[in-house]
Symmetry: C2
DNA sequence: GTGAAAGCGCTAACAA
DNA sequence: TTGTTAGCGCTTTCAC
C-alpha cells in the first residue's frame, strides 16, 4: 500500500516554479507575488496537497506534539487528567499522543521509547506501579527531553511535578472514618514503591496515631500490581476478612482498588456500611449512583493535567535550559456519601 | 530548548567510519565485520544513541503507527476498544496514537488532520455524533490512507467496518422490557445521524411493533450532542416525566446517556425499577455495583478493537490496493440485573 | 568489508 | 520576486 499524495515538488514541476517558491507561497511569505501565491494555493487546494508532517518536523527539529504516559485510560482519574492536558496543549498549538503502561514497567519503557526523543517535544508521565528504576527517564532528560511528572512522581529526577496533597487527603479520609466511630480501619493500597501510595499510607497512619489508635500492619494490604488483577485485591480482602477482628471500615488508596473492592464486597454479600464501611480514592463520575453511594477522595484531575502541561510547555518554549524546578501540590476533596454513614441503631 | 542527542554522523566521526557503515552496523547488516559492529554498538550504547524516528519514517515512507479517533476515552466502551487495538497493534509491531473528538465535528476534523497522511500508516475511527459530512475522510482515503471504521460508521465510505448487531441488541433489550410487563417504554438516544443510533432505534421500534405495541414518538428523545452535556439529557428526561402517561421503563442507547440518566433518576428521587425501569447500552465495569445494579446491553469492545486493527493492518500490509471490503458484525450481550426487575406486588 | 552519494519532503539562507 | 542549494538524520544502492 503506498500513497500517491502530491508533494511540493509535484506542484513546482506542474507550475514551472521552484520548490522553494512553492514552499514560500504555501506559507504565505511576503517574498512571493500575490499572483504566484494564488496560483500555487489553488493548485494545492485542488489537488488536495498536504504537507508531510514528518518532513516538516525533521526539518524544524520539533514535532509540536507531546507524549503522555498513564497507567490506564479506563481510569476516570486519568481520562480527566488527559482532558486537562489536551485542553492546554491545543490552546498552545500542540497535539498530544496518549499511551498506556498498564502498570507494567516493561510497557512503560517501551512506550517512552516509542514516544522518545524528537518524535515528541516533551513528556508528561505518571509512573507505573511497578516502576522503581527510572534510568530510562534520566537518560532522556539528560539528552534534553523536557519531562514533567504528575500524580506518581519520582524523587530521583529533578523536574517540574504536579501532585496532590496525598497525605492530607488520606489523613482527612481516615479522620472521617474515625470520627464516624469506626474502630478497625483497614487500608488497601498498591505497591509502596509509588510516591502516591506511600504518602497516602502515611496519612492513614498519622490519622490513627493522632487519634491514639494503634497502627496494625495486619490491616494494611499491598497490591503490588496496582490492583490491575481482581485476584490480587480479592486475596487482600480475604485476608482482612479472615482476621480475628474483622475491619469495620476500609480505606482504599487507588481508583481501581476502590471500585474492585466495592465489587468484591458485593460478591461476598457484605453490607456496606453496616458490616464494613468503604471510603476510597476515586474520580469516578458514578460515585453518587453506586450502591451504596460512595464516600470518596477526589482529585482535581483536569487541573492536574492542565497545570502539568502548562509547565511542560514552559520548559519546551524556554530559550535557555531550565534548572529551577517546581512542585505544584493541589488539594484533594472529600465527598461524604452513604458508604461510610454511621448507622443509627435501629430499634 | 534543544537536544544534544547524538546522531549516526557523530558516531561515524568519532569512530572514523562512514555514516553508511555505522547505519549498517546498527542494523546488524551481514556486510559489516563483527569487530566493527561491536565497536559501533558499544559506542552507541555508551552514548545512548537513539535513532531519530522521524528521519526513519521519512526515509522509509511509513511510521509504524496507526491513529485512533474516538469520541471520548473516559467512556469504558472506548477504552476497552482501545485496549483491543493496542493489543493487536503491538503484536504486529505498530504503535497507536489516540485522539478524542469529544463528539465534535470540528475536533474530529482537526484530529484527523493532525494524524493525517503519512504521519500515520492508517486510521481507526468511530465518528463523532455530530459528524454528517465525511468529506475529510473521503479525501484521505482517496489519497491512499487506509481507514477502518468501528462502532459508528459511515455508509458513504467503502472500507472495512466493525460493528455490532445494534438492531438485535436493542430489539432484545426492548423485548426483555416488554416481557417483563412494562407498558410504556421510552427511548433516549443520541442524534439519529449516527448509524448506531438509527439501528438501535429501529430495534426498539421493531420490538414494540412485533409485540403489537404502539410506537409513540413522544416517548423517543434525541440528544444531539451525544449526551455530553447533562442538561441535554435532563431536558429529555423531564419531557418524558411530563407526559400524561409517564414511561414505566427507559431504554438508553448510549453509554453516557445511560449513566447520566441513572444519575438524574436518582436526583429526581425516582425509584428504579419500581417507578421507572432502566435498561441501557453500556460497557461500564460498575454495572453490578450501581444502585440498582443495571441491566445492560454490553458490546464486545476489546474484540471490536482487535478485529478493526487486524483489518486495518491487513490493508496496510497488502501489496496491492484493496478493493473488496468487509463489514464484520459482532453480537451484543444482554445482562439482566435489578434495574429492570419486575416487582412482585408486595401485599 | 567499507564508503560515497542520492534522496525521503520540506525549509531557509543566500544568489540572482 | 524567484531560484539555487544545503541540509534535517537516516537508509540504501552501487562503487571501491
Amino acid at each position: 500500500m503506498n500513497f500517491d499524495a502530491i508533494t511540493i515538488r509535484d506542484i513546482a514541476r506542474e507550475l514551472h516554479l521552484s520548490v522553494s517558491t512553492v514552499s514560500k507561497a504555501l506559507r504565505d511569505s511576503y517574498e512571493i507575488s500575490d499572483k504566484t501565491k494564488k496560483l500555487v494555493l489553488e493548485y494545492a487546494q485542488k489537488n488536495n496537497y498536504r504537507p508531510n508532517p514528518m518532513a516538516q518536523s525533521l526539518k524544524k527539529g520539533h514535532s509540536k506534539s507531546i507524549g503522555i504516559v498513564v497507567s490506564s485510560i479506563d481510569n476516570q482519574f486519568f481520562s480527566q487528567v488527559i482532558n486537562g492536558m489536551e485542553s492546554e496543549a491545543y490552546s498552545q498549538g500542540y497535539n498530544v499522543i496518549i499511551t498506556q503502561s498498564h502498570e507494567s514497567w516493561d510497557l512503560e519503557v517501551q512506550n517512552v521509547n516509542h514516544l522518545t526523543h524528537r518524535a515528541i517535544d516533551g513528556l508528561l508521565i505518571s509512573l507505573s506501579t511497578e516502576t522503581n528504576d527510572v534510568e530510562h527517564l534520566k537518560k532522556l532528560q539528560s539528552q534534553g527531553l523536557p519531562i514533567v511528572f504528575f500524580d506518581r512522581v519520582s524523587n530521583e529526577i529533578d523536574t517540574h511535578k504536579v501532585i496532590v496533597d496525598n497525605l492530607k487527603g488520606a489523613y482527612e479520609a481516615t479522620m472521617h472514618l474515625i470520627n464516624s466511630g469506626y474502630k478497625h480501619i483497614a487500608h488497601i493500597t498498591s505497591s509502596a514503591i509509588t510516591s502516591v501510595s506511600s504518602e497516602r499510607l502515611s496519612g492513614y497512619k498519622k490519622a490513627l496515631e493522632d487519634s491514639g489508635m494503634e497502627v496494625d500492619d495486619r490491616y494494611i494490604k499491598f497490591c503490588t500490581h496496582g490492583g490491575q488483577a481482581m485476584s490480587e485485591i480479592q486475596q487482600a480482602l480475604q485476608e482482612l476478612l479472615d482476621l480475628e477482628v474483622k475491619p469495620d471500615a476500609i480505606l482504599t488508596a487507588w481508583d481501581r482498588i476502590t471500585t474492585s473492592t466495592l465489587s468484591l464486597l458485593h460478591k461476598f454479600n457484605i453490607k456496606i456500611p453496616q458490616e464494613i464501611a468503604l471510603l476510597g480514592f476515586t474520580n469516578t463520575l458514578l460515585a453518587d449512583v453506586l450502591n451504596p453511594s460512595l464516600t470518596a477522595v477526589q482529585q482535581p484531575a483536569f487541573e492536574i493535567g492542565r497545570k502539568a502541561t502548562e509547565m511542560l510547555l514552559s520548559i519546551i518554549n524556554s530559550k535557555r535550559p531550565v534548572t529551577e524546578f517546581e512542585t505544584v501540590v493541589l488539594p484533594t476533596e472529600l465527598f461524604i456519601r452513604n458508604s461510610t454513614a454511621r448507622q443509627i441503631a435501629v430499634k
